[in-house]
Structures are given as C-alpha cells and as structure tokens.
Amino acid sequence: MSMRDRAAQPHLSSSPRRRGSIQASDERKTEAWMDPGLRRDDGVSRSVPARLRESLLLPVVLICALISTFAHAADRLAAPHLGKPMTAGEAAKWDLSVFPDGKGLPEGKGTAADGKSIFVTQCASCHGDGGRGATAEELVAEPQPLTEAGASKAIGPYWPYATTLFDFIRRSMPAGAPGSLSSDDVYAVTAYLLAANGVISETDEMNATTLPAVKMPNRDGFDWIDVKH
C-alpha cells in the first residue's frame, strides 16, 4: 500500500449521527491523534507526520500541522535540557505496568486456595463475600451474555485481559493500604478471582507465564473507537 493510499483511509470510525458537515471541517476529524501509527518517523522534518507530509489529499490538515510544527520547533530550539539521565535499571524501579503479553510481571506464584484467605481478610469488607459486590463493585458473576439488559461487567463476563487484575491489584489495592501485597499475594488473589469467575480451575497456579496465557471470555468483545488497532 502506498503512503498516499494509506493517508486516504479514514482514521476515525464514522458515526451515522454525523451529518451535514462541509469538507474542510470534515478534514479536521483526521487529526494526527486519531491514529497512534501516525507520527513523525525521521529526524529531518521533525514533527510533520510522514503520512500527512506525503498526502496531497489533506491540504487543510497539512497547513494546520505546519503551523503547529513551527510552534513546536521553536519550543524545541529554545528549551533547556534539564532531565536527569537515568539508567534502564533505575527507570525499572519506577515501572509498575503489567501488559497483556506479560511484560512487567514479576517472579512469584499463587493459587485460588492461597488467595481465598487474603480475599476474605483484605478485600471482602468492601467487595462482599465471594466478590459479589458491597460498597465496592461486584467482581464475580456467573457467565452470562453481554447482550442482556443490565448485563454484569464483573471480571468473568466483561474484562478482556487477566493481566489487568495483577496490574490493578498490585498498584491500587487494598484501598486502605495500597502496595502492601507481595507478588505472591497478588498472584494468589488474581487466581482466586479468576477461579471464582470460572475462568481457571481452583488448582491452576498463576505466575508470569500462566497469567498472560489465560484467555478471558470477553477477550475479543471490544472495538477501539478513537484510535486504530
């Protein structure tokens, strides 16, 4: 596919409720942020996205982009360099992200049996017995079609990735003492919640290898709206 063809593709999903726009205004919808793949890719024309630069079909966007380029270019020339360089190891100490492919998961392991006692003492006071919801949201629900009115958005029926549990529990829970759980504890509570939702068995061990391999029932149920896959 040529650069020009790619640039001519819509970057934003169309909405049937959009109507009556004029062409010049419509082109505003193809702003660079709509597509994370749309960005500068060399060190020469510093901030005009490559696909926009080569597009003859979006002159309005090009002019807008050039105006903002001048503003940014001036900033970049004028700015001091005050960031303190970090080594990769230093930066890693700040990094709490756990990605769907397992990147960021620490060593450790846990099962649903290990996690049950942690859930009872640390989580159930807000999330209810068995994670059925109380002052905090419902976490556990029976398998059910999401097409039903008022369908549950608990972990089993709705969440697309099992790694999200680890990422969130480690950084945010329990609410009264966030960050207090060990890696083994987080794997165990994650295993407990996945088993309670029927996604894994009671005896499955969750670790850096097995957790990202868990396929959630609603894994493919999401459509990206303002950004392309």
Binding site: R17, W33, P80, M86, T135, T147, W159, G221, D223
Partner: protein
Amino acid sequence: MSSHLTADDLQPVAGGGLLHRRLLLKSGLMLATAAATGSVGVAPANASEDLASPSWMRMPGAPFSAYGNPSKHEARVMRAIGANKDLPGNGVSWTPLESLEGMITPSGLHFERHHNGVPEIGPAQHRLVVHGMVRQPLMFAVNDLLRYPMRSHLIFIECGGNSNAGWHEEPIQRPVGSFHGLISCSEWSGVPLAVLLDQAGIDPKATWVIAEGADAVVMNVSLPLAKLMDDAIVALYQNGERIRPENGYPMRLIIPGFEGVTNVKWLRRLQITDQPVMARNETAKYTELLPNGRARQFTFGIDAKSVITTPSPFQKMFGPNIYEIKGLAWSGRGRIAKVEVSADGGKSWAEAALQDPVLPRCFTRFRMPWSWDGSPAILKSRATDETGYVQPERDVLIKERGRNGYFHYNAIAAWSIDEDGAVSHVYA
C-alpha cells in the same frame, strides 16, 4: 423600555416565545433571570439599613487579604460531593453550573473525580520519569519543569462518566450541576509534552504512552503517542496559579478534547510503548457496553453537548416576563458552530447567540432571549460543532448505545416549566 426596541423585535422567532438573539445586542431589553430558590440570591436587606446610605459607606472597610475568598454571602455556592461512605476519597464532586456565569470555572469549584483521595505531595520529592522506548530515560524535578517554555490551553475537561444519570429510566431531579457538572473549564499552562519526549528521544516504532499518577491508586491509562505529541502539555498552572491539590498538584497531564480520566493528575511517569497496558480504567471502566454485546473502547474524544443552566431544575421563574435562557456548549472535536434552543419541547428551534470568544475544545456560553407568557413550556438546547456533528436527542442516543454503556452520555436535556414557574427535568 429603550427607544431602540420596536414591537417587531418582540415577535417570536420560534414556538413558546423565543425571541431573536439580536435582542441581546440592544441596550434597552430588561431581562429577568430565574433564580435558585432558597440557595442563591440576594439576602433580604437588614431592616435597619438605610439603602441610600448603608453603614459600610460610613466606616472604614476591611484591610487587605493575602488570598481572597468569595463573599460570605455566596458561601452556599459550592461543589456537591458524592463519595463512597467506606472510602470517602473515592467519588466525585460536581461543579455547580447553575450558579456560575461566563466560561471559566473558578479553580475551587472545578469538578473532582478521585479513586482513592487527594495525595499530599511534597513538590521537592515529586519526580516525572519518562522511559520505555526512548533513547535516554529522563527524570524531571518540579523546579526543572518550571524553567521550560510553557504554553496554555483554555479548555474544558469533562469526565467520561458525566451526566450518566441520563441513562436512568426516570429523569433525575437535581440541580443541573449535580447532574451535568462533572465538567469544568480552566486555563491550563505548562510544558508541551513533545519537548520533553523529544529530549528523551522516542523510538520510531513507539505508538502509545502509559501515563501514571502518584495518588494511592497509582492511576494509569494508555494514550496515543501522536495526540500527545500534537498538543498535550504537562500542566503546572491552573487559571494562573499553581494547580490545586485536588486537580493534580504539582503537575497533571492536559490532553485537549480527551475525556477527563486521560488528563492524569499528580503525573509521575510516562512510559513510551508500542501497545496499550489495558489498565482497569480503560477496560473494566470507561468503556461502553452496547446492546449487541460489544463494547466501545478508547472513546477518548468528547462529542458535542450543551445544557441550559438557567432556567434549570430547582430554579424558579418570576412570572410572565422577558428572560434570558443561558447555558454552556462544548465539543472535544473542535469549536461549537451553533447552539439552537427550543421552548416547545423540540417542535421548533431558534439559534442562540454565542458569546465570544468561541474557542476549540472550550466552554462556549450561549444566550437566548425569551418572552415567557406563563404557560407550560419545555426548554431544550442542541449543540452542533464545526465537524458537523449534532448533539442527539435522548431516544436517538439510547437507540444506538442502549442503557448499559454508562459513559459518554451527551443527549439533549429537557427542562419542563409549569404554570407556577417551577422547573423540572423531563424526558421529552
């Protein structure tokens, strides 16, 4: 009445007594304004006070104040708070839109959404780390960022969950701010993010940025790199002063036009990647489940919306007279192109006046003169933005999205006015 006004001026331009917006330019039109009952308004005059020569004209006034506050007579204009009783830092506070004018939200009335409270951050101990797919990971102190060139965005921020009571079966009866007030508008000033990311040296294969806050949930979201390079800033100032603790002190991300949760407060870390992290707040929350069982995800942009702030529920009319209908309109996709107002439930519409300045991704104040004859009326406002997008009626939005999506409710709101001048929320 001014000699500038003629009988023709007072001819309605749409049903229910809507008058032409040009009347707002005439000097002689005396507009009544609906007022909230009980909460706001002028306190009754002290019977002992001589109105022609009140006591405060006959004695020295108060001395200077190092930091000013609103008049004590306006102390009831405050945010409405809705929080979890077991976790009081998890909840929201709404901006009292019904009590405010113009387009700027006072910083102390800017809406809040916290997931586990407001962190008390010592600026000397706070750092912003940029790492991941970069040539050189960098750490910035607050004082470092204060030395960078800055830019301002005068923009609204709207929570993706704003107005979610609109999905309810029955119309909620609350002041407009406690229904639609998870939106506020400020001038945000800070360092263009592109400058900082450029200094770290972005890998050409990178497409996403994971932004993370230093609060007790260490709130994180995934954001498209191209948008952040385009116009995002690391804001240090709000409305001219350093950002207040509840709005992200000492720094927050500002992403014009994106839903509130992406404007990460207490910003501590930016991780450059080639994939989203699929955080809890971009999967389990801030996604919209549709009737067909599929869910909308990464619905960053705020679609056009408007709401009438006066008259609005819990305000009261003062009998047949000429009134100014006024409200706010906004779009995360650009400027507001027009706002139409109806006084007959949507059967007929007339274009409102837009008060300058009309800025992209900013509150736009609209005004409409109205001759109310005292008979029941249903007021609506309908925004159109410069992309041509038209704010939908509620039944259209629900037909498309169902009622279980929770987020991004932007339908037209209807206020019913009865013959006694009481205002209530209706589905019409």
